[in-house]
Symmetry: C2
Subunit: 187 residues, 2 copies
């Protein structure tokens, strides 16, 4: 078992449960079942661990929302796939998603948001949105604003589905939620 990975997993769990400020490194290594010292072999400092964890989860998220797009050929179909990819990933990885929410609005996210690989993924997403704007499939506004609105709606949907898990398989609900989302972007 990769101890680095064990540490990242343990950190995710504890950070979400207790918050960054209430999770000592000793608790992380204990939860991971490894020695206290090894954490500082893989990560220079605690902040370094937080940064790397944030980057790796952000990468995973941004990758997963763009997956299987090539299998869909209609334009709105692609948008709907991104939408469902997003909330599906968030629900399947709720600890990771909660960690993202917690750190996204934090100063330590600033340190990290410039990471080239993450910027690249966002550019990809941005270009796709811009394409839709150009094709007049969605409202003619700044693509970054539209991306933000998407994330805002997806985040609130995920929070709702976390609170009411039985809605996850409620096709009527899913369809209505999609309508809320797609109506908001309609030109």
């Amino acid at each position: 078992m990769d101890k680095r990975e064990l540490l990242l997993e343990a950190a995710t769990k504890l950070f979400v449960e207790r918050g960054l400020h209430a999770t000592p490194t000793s608790a992380i290594s204990k939860e991971a079942g490894v020695s206290a010292g090894i954490l500082f072999h893989y990560f220079k400092t605690k902040d370094d661990l937080i940064d790397e964890l944030y980057v790796s989860i952000k990468k995973e998220y941004t990758s997963s929302i763009m997956s299987d797009l090539d299998k869909i050929h209609s334009d709105l179909g692609k948008l709907r796939l991104i939408w469902s990819n997003s909330w599906n990933w968030a629900i399947d990885n709720d600890l990771k998603f909660k960690f993202l929410l917690q750190v996204d609005n934090t100063s330590c996210a600033e340190r990290v948001k410039t990471h080239p690989e993450i910027i690249a993924k966002y550019e990809l997403f941005h270009n796709l949105i811009q394409e839709y704007v150009d094709k007049e499939l969605i409202k003619n506004m700044d693509a970054y604003f539209i991306m933000g609105s998407m994330f805002g709606l997806i985040t609130s949907m995920v929070s709702y589905l976390t609170q009411f898990p039985d809605k996850r398989n409620d096709q009527l609900f899913i369809e209505q939620a999609w309508e809320v989302f797609s109506n908001s972007l309609r030109p």
Copy 2:
């Protein structure tokens, strides 16, 4: 000058700048220009300070978004006022808003979300939304889902306006943003 208030203000600033986990109580009292001990005269513990800060800001926010509603008589006008109240408050109080974002997704928000005064404000808001749903002014979905969508969109709009401040007075932008919002709720 009320030292309790000075402490809360200093805490807001530092928590947003450095994060909860990197802000010692000593830094808070220093920033507030008061002695280290007085913090524990007004707040039992550091967590208590965080809780009280969160509650007071949340109260202020929930109050302000519902203000002046009685001056408006058309239904959609009221909804639009809530919408603009929200992002105006968030922009005028960006530190406080950032603090809310940071703590909202945290385990320590759980401790506090049950606060009766906050629940009361949300009930008020919830009832208004439910009224709109009943009048078929907005989509027939669970009012809590709709509230969540509203907050999601408002949050993303505020983030955007924080990044591009010159858009704040761009009437075309404001109007389009309102359309995004109101379209999303259209029945």
